[in-house]
């Protein structure tokens, strides 16, 4: 038998808006009615600016001891917004890790929830009714399986709903990533896998994460269409997600998007990236900032002025200030709150722990412990 090629493919890289804010005319034309409108771009730019301000304020809150650890999204806003623009609020599901606040806000999560969560209050994870997201997921890579399951349920129940799940480059090393992608491929569920390749998993660079030339090619193993996009390009991110979304809704199964971007901040406020990151590298990526690029685009089309910028910055400050106020003014939760949701109905032993923790400090019924007025025996 002669040798033959069993499988052959290539990975496409998509960039529609270049680093100088110039749109590729041919690619833009190809998008046709799916190209972002001027109004959408303006709104996205505003939203990204507000989220950038949110990040900066959150960082300051942590540094001044008003909040716990916080992971910034700085530099990756176009991935979140571009993909979330392709999702239908209240209908599609966003299953995120912990760095995609901008997408969650667009999808209906009130902005103070995320601060509440990082301020150490789990009520920040209490997703409001009708908002189709899952809570922030701290363990790496485990939540993608939930997205596959949610999409699977949508398929079984014949719901017109797509699940979008976000994860970093590091998460692709986890077993659950592969199980989630494999299940999604085999079961052909309406799920979109969005890998935010931001170059770092805390201090470990992309080169030490995988020997693959792209993260996008990993999806080939699971039989799903895959693409690498410029993650700092709102247009490319929207176009790729939109295409994956259409495929999912047509019953054609999952898709994979590798968004090449860069984490401009530290991993979290507990991290110090100067220990492992070359400043030159950082400067190069700062020039590719998705916000700068989008502003250049808007200015080139005479859709943006310095006055508008000034007004937006003031607006962003005011909004975030209000959000911080809401989060900080939330009354401290009652300690019994830790018990009340363990199960729908509290088992007797937990009820005793809840009802007696204040009086005995032991979480133990005083009578049963032989310490009460009517001691046993």
């Amino acid at each position: 038998m002669p040798r033959k090629v069993a499988y052959k493919t290539q990975i496409e890289h998509l960039q529609i808006l270049d680093e100088n804010g110039k749109l590729d005319a041919k690619l833009a034309k190809e998008q046709g009615k799916h190209l972002l409108s001027d109004e959408q771009v303006q709104q996205s730019y505003e939203h990204m600016t507000i989220c950038r301000q949110y990040d900066e304020v959150a960082f300051k809150l942590q540094r001044s001891g008003r909040m716990g650890t916080f992971p910034q999204n700085k530099g990756q806003e176009a991935v979140a917004i571009g993909s979330a623009l392709a999702a239908r609020k209240g209908q599609d599901w966003l299953v995120s890790a912990y760095r995609e606040n901008a997408a969650l806000f667009m999808h209906g999560l009130p902005m103070h929830y995320v601060l509440t969560y990082w301020m150490g209050d789990e009520r920040g994870s209490k997703i409001p009714e009708g908002v189709k997201i899952t809570p922030l997921s701290v363990p790496i890579g485990t939540h993608m399986l939930h997205a596959t399951g949610i999409a699977w349920a949508a398929k079984i129940r014949k719901e017109d709903s797509v699940a979008l799940t976000y994860f970093g480059d590091g998460a692709t090393s986890e077993g659950d990533f592969h199980e989630a992608a494999n299940f999604a491929g085999v079961l052909k569920v309406p799920c979109i896998f969005i890998c935010q390749n931001n170059s770092w998993a805390i201090s470990v660079p992309r080169e030490k994460q995988t020997a693959s030339e792209t993260f996008a090619q990993k999806a080939l193993a699971y039989g799903m269409p895959t693409i690498q996009v410029d993650g700092n390009d709102l247009f490319a991110m929207y176009a790729a997600t939109r295409q994956a979304h259409e495929r999912a809704r047509k019953g054609e199964g999952p898709s994979f998007i590798e968004a090449v971007t860069y984490r401009l901040a530290d991993h979290t406020t507990a991290d110090d990236a100067s220990r492992y990151r070359d400043p030159k590298d950082l400067d190069a990526w700062k020039a590719k900032d998705p916000l700068i690029r989008l502003r250049k685009y808007l200015e080139s089309k005479d859709l943006w002025t310095d006055e508008q910028q000034e007004a937006l910055e003031a607006k962003a400050k005011a909004i975030v200030q209000e959000v911080v106020k809401t989060a900080e003014e939330m009354p401290k939760p009652d300690i019994t709150d830790i018990f009340d949701y363990t199960f729908e109905e509290l088992p007797e032993s937990l009820r005793v722990q809840r009802d007696t923790m204040r009086t005995t400090s032991l979480g133990q019924d005083p009578e049963q412990a032989g310490l009460g007025a009517r001691a046993a025996h």
Partner: protein
Amino acid sequence: MAELNLVQAINLALAQEMERDDRVMILGEDVGLNGGVFRVTDGLQKRFGEDRVVDTPLAESGILGTSIGLAINGMRPVPEIQFEGFLGPAYDQIVHHAGRMRTRTRGAVTVPMTVRVPVGGGIHAPELHSDSPEAIYSHHVGLKVVMPSTPYDAKGLLLAAIRDPDPVMFFEPKRVYRSYKEEVPEDDYTVEIGKAKIVSEGDDVTVITWGATVFQALAALDELPEDVSVELIDMRTIYPMDEDTIVESVMKTGRCVIAHEAARTAGMGAEIATILQEKCFLHLEAPVQRVTGFDTVMPYYKLENHYLPEAPRIKEAIEQVLAY
């Protein structure tokens, strides 16, 4: 009313619940065409179709992780893990997601799923096919842990588990799968999760056990002199535990033997002994005695019966607490 074994009773419960509630689905390795390695799901795929009884890829974390997603989005998944030794890869999903989801979202997101797993030894299985993990999952919050010993209870508890709004670990003692039959009603009935069963009433000593060990305890009772009156309790649910039944019994008898297959250290026997110490200390006539697996690896099958709490060891413990 038919005489059924544990496998048939569970199969009946699954079939009836799938008939009643179209959100219920089964997923796992080999559960479909093959009907599961123990044939517990036999015939269900043929009856309910490949969308509701799903042969999944071979990946335990995948099965449990997608079940969580299915449950979040409106289904009532009943995933099967073939043997308890394979729960390891799915541990993260069970403990860090399923068990915590309701609490951390303050009730906004819940995970109503029932994880079926054959557990325990005594069937000459290969390595990692004979352990008893009930203490591990009882220790983690937000999970209910159920282990029936009889076909009647298995059917009623499984229906209760599937209808439960919280995640339930449903452990099936594989040693009992085909070794015991009893009448199981066709009717829709449930056995309440969290309630123990008094198998036999007695005054001299309380024996507390569950799963396959219930039958070892019954065999031990047969070997005791006729004037020894033993109260035998089958816990049926490991968490939440029915403290009232065991405390009331030990208040009456003053003596207690706890028997379980899992290793001794930090096993559920330790928890029960502490509860008894807290709640009926002054009623105890003898130290609470534990008959358990050893703090060793569950041995390969030539020695497994030495590891398991077999009837002679239980009998000896009863005699010791009586003689104290």
